[in-house]
């Protein structure tokens, strides 16, 4: 093993100079590994909570006009860097047969907007006509996020009933569910007329990716806690009690995520690169630490055992994921004595990473998330590198020789796929005419492949590579595209890969073996989600903000200490 130059967490080093131990894109950007990711302290929810805590943000109830069944409207506001943001919630009855988490839904238990400032009554009246319609409504640039959530039928009523009788809800049911409501869409960045990201991107606290969406979800979680307490109190004013702080902290907000999230990673290669590069830089920096001090040893040991407990509480009905969790529990248990030895050594975190190399991918990724967790401010500074408003663009004077070299060096994975095999062309991604729901079809048995979305990156690379062989090396890209405009899209991506090497998922996304769930887990781990609960290979449930401090706990010194939460 080659050891890196010795330094400690306190040594300053430039982010521009990448550590020698950084994992290469060819290793990291494979679907199977992306689909094994865990949240880290760089995850977007963690970033938001740190900001709310540092700013000592305070939540206020501005409006609470709900009937005894919890139907009506409410406004919760929170301040961040001197600005107020308000969650406006509308709740309504919903029959079981209409409760679907899919995009094709037309009604929900609750609907929301995050409003820029404190809304006036006229704003609430206007939005009450629009927000319950979600995509069919129309919004203004005063609205920053649009969302909706459905109740967990098994938990919501139970919690109301228990609280109304002055009792706390069943501990095991809380543990197995983890949320009172789950969001089924969280729209930002200009959708349906709400504000473009550009409006808030330069604001303090909002420059990082998905911070405004994460804020909306955090406030929805707060709303659900208040909602069950309100209904319980109405049901039994004399006997009702409040939900305990411990359970509130454990109850996150659920989320159902489907295929729509997957193409995002493909259509935002620069953003994906920046997320990955920050994450991998953090991992590499931690691996190059020479020695842990006693505080770090104590911290990482506690985190090891917390992760162990977390794994024991991770439940899913998905057979594949259940097997992976079972394997991971055994592997995590197996390294316990070695782990405690290793942290005493030189380059302990590097040794821990090396230790997991012979284990499952989930084991490897859990370990790298663990070692990043003991990083402090220096690691957290990397979050400033995780944003980008740049899209891939053409470098028109690049020679074809240079372009061919990028393909040779960075797209070998694409050239190695045999597209003469039917299985490698098996799937196509498309948008359904019904509410524009993203879907995945089978090319040889379903109509619509001629309208597929451009996720066939590897196939396009191969087509370009074949055509480039017919052209002179000294020709420049602009002239080549003049003759072949159909390659403009893939050339943009390839040229972008020369300066954003982590921007491409290095697998065949239309092959029979492609599992979209891997892309979903990758993106959701960057959000900060854990306890992935796949419902198929293209659909998953998760819980957001589980273990995160509630608004009344943001002032506590341990507000950032909620990686892989455990209910005890």
């Amino acid at each position: 093993m080659t050891l890196p130059v010795s330094h400690t967490l306190n040594d300053a080093h430039s982010l521009a100079q990448l550590p020698a131990q950084i994992r290469q894109a060819s290793m990291v950007m494979r679907l199977s590994r992306l689909g094994s990711f865990f949240p880290t302290r760089l995850s977007f929810m963690r970033v938001l909570i740190r900001q709310l805590a540092e700013q000592k943000s305070v939540l206020k109830t501005q409006t609470w006009s709900l009937d005894k069944n919890g139907f009506g409207r409410a406004v919760l506001s929170i301040n961040l860097f001197g600005r107020e943001y308000s969650l406006i919630a509308f709740t309504q009855p919903l029959s079981d047969e209409n409760r679907t988490d899919r995009v094709i839904a037309e009604a929900w238990d609750s609907t929301y907007v995050l409003y820029d400032g404190i809304p006036e009554t006229e704003d609430l009246d206007r939005l009450e006509q629009q927000v319950p319609n979600q995509e069919a409504g129309r919004y203004s640039d005063k609205e920053l996020v649009l969302s909706r959530a459905n109740k967990s039928v098994r938990l919501f009523q139970h919690v109301v009933d228990q609280l109304s009788e002055g009792k706390q809800p069943d501990f095991d049911l809380i543990k197995s569910t983890g949320y009172l409501m789950r969001t089924t869409a969280v729209y930002g960045n200009g959708k349906f007329g709400i504000a473009d990201r550009a409006k808030i991107a330069k604001r303090n606290g909002m420059s990082g990716p998905f911070q405004i969406e994460m804020l909306a979800v955090y406030l929805i979680r707060e709303f659900t806690h208040r909602l069950v307490e309100h209904i319980a109190k109405c049901k039994s004013p004399k006997n009702a009690c409040l939900l305990s702080d411990k359970l509130k902290r454990y109850l996150g907000i659920g989320n159902s995520t489907g295929l729509g999230m997957a193409p995002f990673l493909v259509s935002h290669p620069v953003l994906l690169n920046n997320w990955m590069l920050a994450r991998e830089t953090a991992i590499a920096n931690m691996r190059s630490i020479h020695l842990l001090d006693q505080t770090q040893k104590t911290h990482i040991t506690k985190l090891y055992y917390r992760a162990k407990n977390h794994l024991s509480q991770w439940q899913t009905t998905d057979i594949t994921q259940t097997k992976k969790i079972s394997c991971l529990r055994q592997e995590w248990q197996k390294i316990e004595p070695i782990f405690l030895d290793k942290i005493e050594n030189e380059y302990p975190l590097e040794e821990l990473v090396q230790l997991t190399n012979s284990y499952s991918l989930e084991m490897q990724e859990l370990m790298v998330s663990l070692i990043v967790e003991i990083g402090g401010d220096e690691i957290d500074q990397l979050t400033h590198c995780m944003t980008s408003d740049i899209s891939p663009y053409i470098l028109p004077n690049m020679s074809l020789k240079f372009l061919k070299n990028i393909i040779k060096q960075q797209f070998n994975w694409a050239l190695s796929i045999d597209f003469s095999q039917a299985d490698e062309n098996h799937q196509f991604w498309y948008t359904s005419a019904t509410k524009l729901e993203p879907r995945l079809g089978e090319r040889y048995s379903e109509d619509g492949a001629e309208k597929e979305q451009p996720l066939d990156i590897a196939k396009q690379v191969q087509a370009l590579n074949s055509e480039l062989e017919k052209h002179d090396d000294h020709q420049i890209t602009a002239i080549f595209i003049l003759k072949h405009p159909e390659f403009r899209y893939i050339i943009k991506r390839i040229q972008t890969a020369s300066w954003a090497p982590y921007g491409e998922i290095q697998d065949n996304l239309i092959g029979k073996n492609c599992k979209p769930i891997d892309m979903l887990r990758c993106k959701l781990s960057f959000f900060g989600a854990a306890k992935f609960d796949p419902k198929s290979d293209r659909w998953t449930r998760i819980t957001l903000y589980q273990g995160a401090p509630t608004a009344s706990e943001l002032r506590y010194s341990d507000a950032d200490n909620w990686w892989l939460p455990v209910l005890e």
Binding site: T100, D141, G193, K199, S256, P396, A478, I481, P485
Partner: protein, 209 residues
């Protein structure tokens, strides 16, 4: 109705693809159209016809000269190439006999030509300057559609006669124009079947957990 920048880019992109424009071109035309549209003009009403214009491939015969002449330019199909030539410094001056939409071409330059400042002249009259994504123009220019005798040249920035224009943050688009773009975009959507409804998203139809 007022539209956000993002939703406008998205619809223009879909409309381009639905109208048969290749993906890479559609991406750049969508951003270019929306950028010039933030200066409040008729570009969104004009875009469907520009998309459906029959393709007319351009040729450069002498790549050693910094000046090139073009006869008939279609903004959607040829505009990106001209912008690439300016951005790469392959050309320092372009003369166009006729272009089907000068507004969109200026939008393309705003989007893609970030190197140097450029002046655009129509019939030898100075009408537009593009400099680092900023637009200065003769106000009458915003009512333009097709144009003849256009010169694009590197600017020495001495002529200060144009008005610096500020883009709007939201864009007003006439309902009829929006629907026309939507009709083109609809060609990219796949009609639902019972099979695709049940299996295409990988999730069930109800979720009462």
């Amino acid at each position: 109705m007022f539209r956000s920048f993002s939703e406008t880019v998205f619809l223009c992109y879909k409309a381009c693809v639905g109208g048969g424009v290749d993906i890479g071109t559609a991406q750049d035309i969508a951003v270019s159209t929306t950028l010039i549209g933030t200066y409040q003009n008729e570009i969104f009403g004009q875009l469907p016809d520009l998309i459906s214009a029959p393709q007319n491939k351009q040729h450069i015969t002498n790549t050693f000269s910094k000046t090139a002449n073009f006869e008939s330019v279609l903004a959607v199909h040829n505009g990106l190439f001209l912008a690439d030539c300016l951005q790469s410094n392959l050309l320092e001056e372009i003369k166009i006999k006729e272009i089907d939409n000068i507004l969109l071409f200026v939008g393309i330059c705003l989007h893609l030509v970030t190197e140097f400042s450029w002046d655009i002249l129509i019939d030898d009259k100075f009408v537009v300057r593009i400099s680092n994504k900023n637009l200065s123009a003769d106000l009458a220019f915003l009512a333009s559609g097709g144009a003849k005798n256009i010169t694009i040249q590197k600017s020495d920035e001495t002529n200060k006669s144009l008005i610096h224009l500020k883009p709007t943050s939201t864009i007003f688009i006439d309902a009829e124009n929006w629907h026309a773009l939507n009709r083109l975009a609809a060609h990219t959507y796949v009609d639902e079947t019972m099979h695709s409804r049940i299996s295409g998203a990988g999730a069930g139809l109800t979720d009462n957990d």
